[in-house]
């Protein structure tokens, strides 16, 4: 299975790469068809995306709403700037937590790679501080999952009498 890479570049960029075993047209569709997006862009186990608006045309709107089904949730809004089927998508997005985060400018390219696709997602944040905050905030949902694991860890430590 292809490894994902995530790295920072310069002061304001974050670059994610990932290979897929499907042609660029299919991967591009999975990023622009709401029905498909709702099947995978979900984050940690147990979260769903009940609202998915993806108007894949220049100027078109994006709105994704996530919920954990227990009353917690957040949403993202954005606009498409450029679309070149099936090779390139440029859009801006911001998270609402519920205050909006500064705009994240995202260029996603889909290149043929053998039988599959190499996807490169390049995010540009307004400044280094915003990028640091985004990397910290983006982990929030991941943190939730780890809190649950931590609770389990602490509990078994207590059960084993290791906790004082």
């Amino acid at each position: 299975m292809s490894q994902m890479t995530l790295k920072t570049e310069g002061d304001t960029h974050v670059v994610v790469t990932r290979r897929f075993a499907a042609p660029p047209a299919a991967v591009y569709r999975a990023h622009t068809d709401p029905e498909l997006i709702q099947k995978w862009m979900l984050g940690p186990e147990g979260w769903t995306m009940p609202v998915c608006i993806n108007e894949a045309r220049p100027g078109g709107n994006i709105r994704y709403e996530w919920t954990d089904g227990k009353g917690r949730g957040f949403y993202l809004t954005g606009q498409f700037l450029e679309l070149r089927p099936y090779s390139r998508i440029v859009h801006v997005e911001r998270m609402h937590l519920p205050d909006p985060t500064p705009d994240n400018h995202v260029e996603t390219t889909f290149e043929p790679d053998g039988q599959g696709t190499l996807m490169i997602m390049r995010m540009t944040l307004p400044d280094a501080k915003t990028r640091a905050a985004m990397l910290a905030t983006g982990m929030e949902t991941g943190m939730e999952a780890s809190y649950v694991r931590l609770e389990g860890m602490l509990k078994s430590a207590q059960d084993a009498g290791a906790h004082v």
């Binding site: 999975a30 905050a133 910290a136 602490l154």
Partner: protein
């Protein structure tokens, strides 16, 4: 690390401002005054957050004349690495789901009658 200090690490990390402070300190050490400006917070508010981070062992202070610059401790660096690993994990989970979606779409292709 015993479970008590693990607990204080996680409660220190539970606050988005404290995570942003750690992210800032990951770049270079900084004083309370240097931190209060970009975060648009009062110095006492920053000091309060730093105290939680110091008590959790994530941040240490150095004496430099009248300055008391803070930097990440080894545990703080580990915690930052862990955050990045968790962000990677959340994204990777998404892309593993996308692999499954693509495999299903491929099997069904070409789609019949359901094109909009």
């Amino acid at each position: 690390m015993d479970s008590g200090s693990l607990d204080s690490v996680f409660s220190a990390l539970a606050d988005p401002t404290r995570r942003a402070i750690l992210a800032r300190l990951a770049k270079s050490e900084a004083t309370v005054m240097e931190l209060s400006e970009p975060f648009d917070m009062s110095q006492p508010a920053i000091s309060q957050h730093l105290k939680v981070l110091e008590d959790a062992g994530l941040v240490v202070r150095r004496v430099d004349g009248a300055r008391r610059p803070r930097r990440l401790s080894h545990d703080g660096i580990d915690a930052m690495d862990e955050w990045l690993a968790m962000l990677r994990k959340a994204l990777e989970t998404n892309y593993e789901r996308l692999d499954d979606v693509l495999a299903t779409v491929n099997r069904r292709a070409p789609k019949k009658g359901s094109q909009r």
